[in-house]
């Protein structure tokens, strides 16, 4: 029998290390501590950033087979599909060029009117295109991972759009990738404006099992909302630029037990299957500082009263 046949190293009799129970208690406490630090105090960003950077090659490796299958499927897609796609794109382009022509004229007119009224120039928004790497596998949240990170200048809290509307917001920035929480996540809220009536409100993520939706909350049952109303960003939050389409109202339920009606909306962006996204710098960096008013004025008033 060859020498390497049996395990000839003696198992340690006395030096067994700490017992399983003490290990369980130690690592259990450590992970509880991490969870609290992560959920309550948000101080685990450095650990995540380091681990995410180390993991990047493995993630890249894991993505290759899926990319390969996807790409080869596209490669062998038939001619008809390509032709019909191209025709459709042509139609879309024609429609858009009409609008684009109008936009030129409207921008000019708008600028003149604004100058006339002495309003501030509208904010120019810096943009960055990014590609969706994968849906985060965590089934308890709705997040995606995009391929631009700190090194490319993505800021925490940046709004993310696709070609048809707001998709979500950057909630975690790593050196090479960033994590975008989708509109339909339960913890997301966006201030919106009803484009038809001009009423401001807030929509909240409302994920149902296996689907995607958002909810317009706190609208009284007698409020003026109709099915099909377009909700756009209102821009008063200092994060999202104003006027981006967010959702359309799809169903209104009047409920007798509540003064509010339950309003379901469908997001305009393709929240479940988009490939390319635009990352926008948050507006807050470009807004002017708040005027330092209040106290000096009050003091002056007091002075005059005396």
């Amino acid at each position: 029998m060859a020498l390497g046949t049996l395990d000839r190293t003696l198992p340690p009799f006395f030096n067994q290390g700490p017992s399983a129970l003490s290990k369980l208690i130690f690592f259990g406490a450590l992970s509880l501590f991490l969870m609290v630090a992560d959920a309550r105090f948000h101080v685990t960003q450095p650990i995540r950033a380091v681990l995410a950077t180390v993991l990047y090659p493995v993630q890249w490796l894991a993505q290759q087979p899926i990319h390969l299958v996807h790409n080869s499927g596209e490669y062998f897609g038939n001619l008809n599909q390509a032709q019909s796609d191209s025709a459709e794109a042509g139609k879309k382009l024609a429609l858009q060029s009409l609008r684009a022509g109008q936009v030129e004229q409207l921008t000019l007119e708008n600028n003149r009117l604004r100058q006339l009224l002495g309003l501030r120039e509208q904010l120019a928004i810096p943009l960055m295109a990014a590609e969706v790497l994968y849906d985060a596998a965590d089934p308890y949240t709705r997040k995606i991972i995009i391929d631009k990170g700190q090194l490319k200048g993505v800021d925490l809290g940046s709004p993310v759009l696709d070609e048809s509307g707001v998709l979500g917001q950057v909630t975690q920035v790593y050196p090479l990738v960033s994590e975008v929480t989708l509109l339909i996540d339960r913890n997301m809220a966006i201030p919106v404006l009803n484009a038809r009536t001009g009423v401001r409100s807030v929509v909240y993520g409302d994920p149902v099992v296996g689907g995607s939706g958002i909810e317009l909350r706190f609208m009284g049952s007698n409020a003026d909302v109709q099915i099909g109303d377009l909700l756009t960003t209102s821009g008063i939050d200092g994060v999202y630029p104003a006027g981006l389409p967010v959702a359309k109202i799809s169903r209104i339920e009047h409920r007798s037990e509540s003064t509010f009606s339950k309003i379901y909306c469908v997001p305009q962006a393709l929240v479940t299957g988009t490939q390319h996204v635009i990352v926008v710098k948050p507006v807050s960096g470009q807004l002017p500082l708040r005027p330092e008013s209040a106290e000096p004025v009050a003091a002056a008033k007091k002075g005059t009263l005396k």
Partner: protein, 172 residues
Amino acid sequence: MIMRSGQQLLLPANPVFIWASLIVALVLNMLPLGRVPWMPDFIALVLLFWNVHQPLRVSIGVAFVFGLIMDVHQTSLLGQHALSYTLLSFLATLIQRRLLWFQVPLQALQVLPLFVAAHGFQLVIRLLGGGIFPGWILLMAPLAEALLWPVVSVLLLVPQRRAPDRDENRPL
């Protein structure tokens, strides 16, 4: 080591193979297939396997580290997978000596409650933290892991089952 009768005497395990199997499980878990709640957790499976078969090489500390890696990859709560894998490998050390006396299909039945506990633990943690309930299809995950136990038991023991002396009749 006392073994059940009729079981083959195994070659010593190669640490390189153990680590390679863990890395392969990591890559399998990282396949970007989207949000699939019933997806079996390959790392939990391989960690449990080595915890049962090689408790001196792979134990709770390794489970904790792989848990942290999964947390960062899935963008879940940091420590969620770490805690669940820690628990899983502790339970594995509890049943390790008993488990190897059973036939492999019966072993699968024995490890099912462990996987259920690990997934249930994660579910409770996330629902307490305000997560979205992913649907009852989640129950399929521990079931799939238990069904994969016999497959893994064959695959990961192949290098240890090779013949000690190779000849024409037993080339491998």
